[in-house]
């Protein structure tokens, strides 16, 4: 990238199964106020402060059209240019980076909020299936993921124990993360014995329903250095769509993720991700997805995700820590998922990871995924 873009500050709410007392605007207000006070920025209209924002929320998840009004009031949208991306917080981040690089502004606020507890997850996801061939079958993202999990485990002999190890690792890591919703001490057997929801996926292998929000300030290089002494630089950023129909692609592969990852690696001049990346925060809505996404990201060969988790390499104090934050499996709402991965990656590079800090982390990868059986992937490379 021509110019460097810096992450100045990131704030997350505590993720909770439900936050019944708070309206979405009140939920988001907390994190926006905190990130503004942390950077000393205020909303202005004379060019001296913050006048640009990109929010992220979904009309389906907020249960109304024009759901960006829930963010507008509290994210400085009045008589300023904000915009709302409904394809996940990571893609709102992507648009914000583009706005900074275009020279239209030198600082920008990025937010994402979602209260999954307000809606009915399965019914909202069913609306994500095309009405002509899929919707009347009653499919939701969970049943589609189960079709993908079964295909992936069959094709590459991935075992349910290996998938269970992902849950044990991530729910365990969550103990060190004050924002996480539901840390748990689990054994592989606990996971294997939890009731089956959609074979082969069991209850503990599925991301729980979650409410939460995340806010972040980005700035151009010169501005970022004035706002913080620990800026985190965006070195590579990309996303990519796969084909839509479940039967159009081999669900055991993720071509779109490999495509996005290669674009991001090229921009960041990374040739050997396994060696050059110190920590990974990826969006695993279901256990098997961490293994499959790691293959797509090029951290191991196709079909070797199972061996990777078996080797323990992706543990906290090992060569390639994956999801030290506890990942999505310990509870992060959709829409916020990608932005919280970026926030966690940035915290690692700022050395503010607390109990989950990876010592000496200099380069991090944050990943997000959207759609049916991981149709659209996002990857960004951050550096100290």
């Amino acid at each position: 990238m021509t110019e460097r873009i810096g992450i100045v500050a990131t704030v997350q709410t505590k993720y909770e199964e439900s936050k019944p007392r708070l309206h979405p605007s009140e939920l988001l207000c907390e994190v926006v106020e905190e990130v503004m006070s942390e950077t000393g920025l205020t909303f202005t209209r004379d060019g001296t402060g913050l006048e640009d924002s990109v929010t992220c929320c979904s009309d389906h998840w907020d249960g109304q059209i024009g759901s960006s009004k829930n963010a507008q009031d509290v994210a400085g949208g009045d008589l300023r240019e904000s915009d709302n991306v409904s394809t996940g917080g990571a893609n709102a981040f992507f648009l914000a980076v583009a706005r900074l690089l275009s020279g239209s502004c030198d600082t920008i606020l990025v937010t994402a909020h979602c209260k999954e507890s307000q809606g009915q997850v399965g019914l909202i996801e069913n609306m994500g299936f095309d009405p002509i061939y899929h919707r009347m079958l009653g499919l939701d993202f969970l049943s589609a993921a189960a079709l993908q999990a079964n295909r992936y485990m069959h094709k590459y002999a991935i075992t349910s124990e290996q998938c269970a190890k992902v849950v044990v690792k991530n729910r365990g890591n969550a103990k060190n993360n004050p924002f996480s919703q539901a840390p748990l001490d689990l054994t592989v057997d606990d996971v294997l014995n939890s009731p089956v929801l959609a074979f082969p996926l069991k209850v503990l292998e599925v991301k729980p329903v979650s409410d939460g929000a995340c806010a972040m300030i980005l700035a151009t290089e010169s501005r970022a250095k004035k706002l913080t002494d620990k800026p985190v630089w965006v070195k590579g950023i990309a996303n990519c769509y796969d084909s839509y129909y479940l039967g159009d692609r081999d669900l055991a592969d993720c071509a779109a993720l490999t495509n996005a990852a290669h674009r991001a690696y090229r921009m960041a001049e990374i040739t050997n991700p396994r060696k050059e990346i110190d920590v990974v925060e990826l969006s695993e809505y279901y256990s098997y997805q961490e293994l499959l996404w790691l293959e797509g990201l090029g951290f191991c060969n196709k079909g070797e995700g199972g061996k990777l988790i078996d080797s323990g390499v992706t543990g906290m104090d090992r060569e390639l820590p994956v999801n030290p934050s506890g990942g999505l499996l310990s509870g992060v709402p959709t829409m916020v998922d990608g932005l919280s991965r970026i926030a966690e990656a940035a915290l690692q590079l700022k050395g503010e990871g607390g109990a989950r800090q990876i010592s000496g982390a200099r380069t991090a990868l944050a990943h997000s995924v959207m759609g049916v059986a991981g149709q659209m992937h996002f990857a960004t490379i951050l550096e100290k």
Binding site: S58, D59, V97, S102, G103, P131, Y241, M370, G371
Partner: protein, 391 residues
């Protein structure tokens, strides 16, 4: 500084009330192929594909994934913005950012809607705050424009027949635009005799609900030279959003705490930074997003195209027709075609056609070097795009 960006490809489908012969993907594909054909590009030469609409009108969630085959985004980057009525304009601006930033050279941005496949009224009603006044409001969009009409007439002496003249002009232009939905022969009496929906708004005072898609290809300055000798440069753009926890206080007139509208704020800023002092003279043609006849008059004044209370007088003199000094909505505007997802993008597309001189039968008489497209939506958001033939 930002790389200069131009529109190099324009594609639309004809807008119609129903489109039973095509599903949403096939309809999108028609607009995409038209834009690629116009730019003489293949899908392989497109770096990023953006697709959006207002999801609940057809209910489909994550539409840019659902129709990736038809829009051409297979194994390509892209995303979707969602800002109510201004979604179409926001998707043009989003494409501009991705090209001006240097991230991509050639971006295809597409918006669409098939409103009759859902229930527009109830969906619009869902815009109100669910925990508060959603159960009260009728189809609030109609109510908003009824309030606007009441107060525009009270403040400016405008009478219903002037609004009817706006509708007659829209019909005359719409008949000349192959992509417009409504092709009507109308007189002022026809408009005044159409049935009242929400007093004082009559059926012909407001826009139809339509199905249609619009696609634009934007390219960076280096790429533009290789693609076309008729680029339409995006000289400037601005979006001004607005607070609005719930619909009620925000939208009825008069605002109990009056201040400049977002149209005034946006247009003043845009004109100032482009050295425009008399928009009616320095901008050759306007494509305004007018969901109601009275709206076109009010928005002309808010956008500084004429003084307060002057708009209906201009319409009375016939100054806003294709041959007039201040041509407004040569395409027939939203009154002639309203697929809410692509409305604000169609304004930009039609303004660009005027700059290129390619609008055919509805090309304005006056020579066009500069055009302005306006987008409206949500809690009174305003988007403006200033297009020009030369840099």
């Amino acid at each position: 500084m930002a790389r200069r960006v131009a529109i190099v490809g324009i594609g639309q489908t004809p807008h119609k009330s129903r489109m039973p012969e095509l599903d949403a993907g096939e309809m999108i594909n028609v607009a995409v192929r038209a834009a690629l054909e116009d730019a003489q590009l293949s899908i392989r030469e497109i770096d990023q594909v953006l697709l959006s609409n207002m999801e609940h009108f057809e209910g489909n969630y994550f539409v840019e994934g659902m129709f990736s085959d038809s829009v051409g985004s297979y194994l390509k980057p892209g995303l979707k913005t969602q800002v109510m009525g201004t979604t179409g304009a926001s998707m043009v601006t989003t494409a501009w950012y991705f090209v001006a930033s240097g991230l991509f050279d050639t971006v295809l941005t597409v918006t669409y809607q098939k409103q009759h496949e859902g229930q527009s009224g109830p969906v619009l009603q869902s815009a109100a705050e669910p925990s508060y006044d959603r159960v009260l409001t009728g189809h609030s969009a109609m109510y908003i424009f009824a309030s606007l009409a009441q107060h525009y007439m009270a403040e400016t002496g405008c009478r219903p027949e002037h609004a009817a003249m706006v509708r007659v002009k829209a019909a005359d232009n719409g008949r000349r635009n192959p992509f417009a939905h409504l092709k009507l022969e109308l007189t002022v009496e026809d408009v005044l005799n159409s049935r009242v929906l929400v007093w004082p708004l009559r059926l012909l005072d407001i826009c139809p609900t339509s199905a249609g898609a619009c696609a634009l290809v934007l390219a960076s300055e280096e790429r533009v030279r290789k693609i076309t000798n008729k680029p339409v440069w995006i000289r400037d753009h601005i979006a001004v959003h607005q607070e609005g926890f719930t619909l009620s206080v925000m939208h009825y007139y008069p605002d109990p705490f009056p201040r400049e509208t977002t149209r005034e704020v946006a247009s003043k800023k845009l004109y100032a930074r482009n050295g425009i002092t008399d928009p009616a003279k320095e901008i050759d043609v306007f494509e305004i997003y007018e969901p109601s006849t009275y709206g076109e008059l009010q928005y002309m004044e808010d956008l500084g195209i004429c003084g307060k209370g002057e708009a209906w007088k201009l319409v009375e003199k016939g100054a806003t027709t294709l041959e007039g000094e201040v041509p407004m909505n040569p395409s027939g505007g939203v009154l002639s075609a309203n697929a809410i997802g692509d409305c604000a993008m169609v304004r930009v597309a039609e303004a660009a056609l005027q700059v290129r001189g390619d609008a055919g039968e509805h090309q304005i008489a006056r020579k066009v070097n500069t055009a302005m497209a306006h987008g409206f939506g949500g809690r009174g958001y305003t988007t403006l795009h200033l297009l020009s033939k030369t840099l």
